[in-house]
Symmetry: C2
Subunit: 219 residues, 2 copies
């Protein structure tokens, strides 16, 4: 059994990949260099791939900066708090990531794709919901060679209905290296502790009753 | 009205974009440099974009060569004829292209995406069928900000049910510059006239009773 695991360098994709490993999959890790503000994510993804003992770690240059439309790839300000879909939403990001993952899975003859998408303690992104994953599953069934041949690539989002606290607990249970994960949207040396992503992470660790091993500027 | 038009440099995407222009859309052209064997396609796409008087022409580097799994990006031989899904199939290519198109459409506030996919005289690719386009439409509806806000980006494949001959006729009717289109899978100076793609093109022109303006090595 082979699985392509999307690995961003963040905690959710790390735990998601450890779920795959725990289920016995040989792992093909896939990380994107998409012009995100914080390049450290990619270094953390490499560390996580090592911990997972992956078969291969492919880092794809995905040019989202020239498309723009997001605070994560452009010049918009990173918000501390807001309502609705926030400016950190990157247009169609998970669709681009899953499209590449489908291509990679076909080319390596992988049976599944693991993605750390999470609909509970999420930031309001439309492409992190179960119904979105289902829509992409249909694309995998219809639009790939494996799908047409009846060996469809399964898109698995094992954290989709978990709270951040549950993700923390699952990660600890599976031995996920949280000290090698990065969640902050900013470029600061330590995580800022204030952006949406830091706040969700800190809340998760707090509710799980577990100490977050990374350092923060504020919390 | 704005539309993102996928422009490969081939005849189908050219005619598809001229359909969009004819319907009054302001055009944002999108072309991929994905490590295809024939780089001339991209030069042709630039010429077509000029003829379309596009608002912007974005050329994205999409690294499909490192993924592999196709005769068009790797070392496999280009076949002259075959059955089933041929080795020129590039895993999940249209899914990757449409994912980027969705991102580009969101970022430029475009209402539609035009793709030259064609299910009739096609080469047996799973991601060139109407049901595949419908599956991607659902992804657009559910997985994007515009979709969630009720202004879904429409994915239009105006040639999906046309024969190659009908595409040729429509292109002539709309003034599409066929002399600036490239269909051959090979890297030869002139089109080879023998690969699947050349043969489909030549058959289309012949059935339409129109002379193909490009030169061939064999036909």
């Amino acid at each position: 059994m082979r699985a392509v695991c999307l690995l961003s360098g963040g905690m959710d994709s790390c735990v998601s990949a450890f779920v795959a490993k725990n289920e016995g999959y040989t792992i093909y890790a896939l990380t994107f260099n998409y012009g995100q503000r914080n390049r450290r994510e990619i270094e953390f993804a490499k560390e996580i791939a090592k911990a997972l003992e992956v078969k291969e770690h492919l880092i794809i240059n995905a040019d989202l900066r020239s498309i723009g439309g997001s605070a994560l790839t452009g010049d918009m300000e990173i918000p501390e708090k807001g309502e609705g879909i926030p400016p950190t939403y990157v247009p169609a990001r998970n669709t681009i990531f899953l499209a590449y993952a489908l291509a990679y899975a076909e080319a390596r003859n992988a049976d599944a794709i693991f993605i750390g998408a999470n609909a509970i303690d999420y930031s309001g992104y439309p492409d992190c919901r179960a119904e979105y994953i289902q829509a992409m599953q249909k694309v995998a069934n219809i639009g790939t060679k494996r799908g047409v041949e009846g060996k469809s690539i399964k898109i698995i989002a094992p954290l989709i209905n978990l709270s951040k606290a549950e993700i923390v607990k699952k990660g600890v249970e599976l031995g996920a290296p949280f000290e090698k994960t990065w969640s902050c949207y900013r470029e600061t040396e330590k995580a800022c502790g204030r952006c949406d992503s830091c706040r969700l992470r800190l809340k998760g660790f707090k509710e799980a009753g577990i100490k977050d091993p990374i350092e923060y500027e504020n919390k």
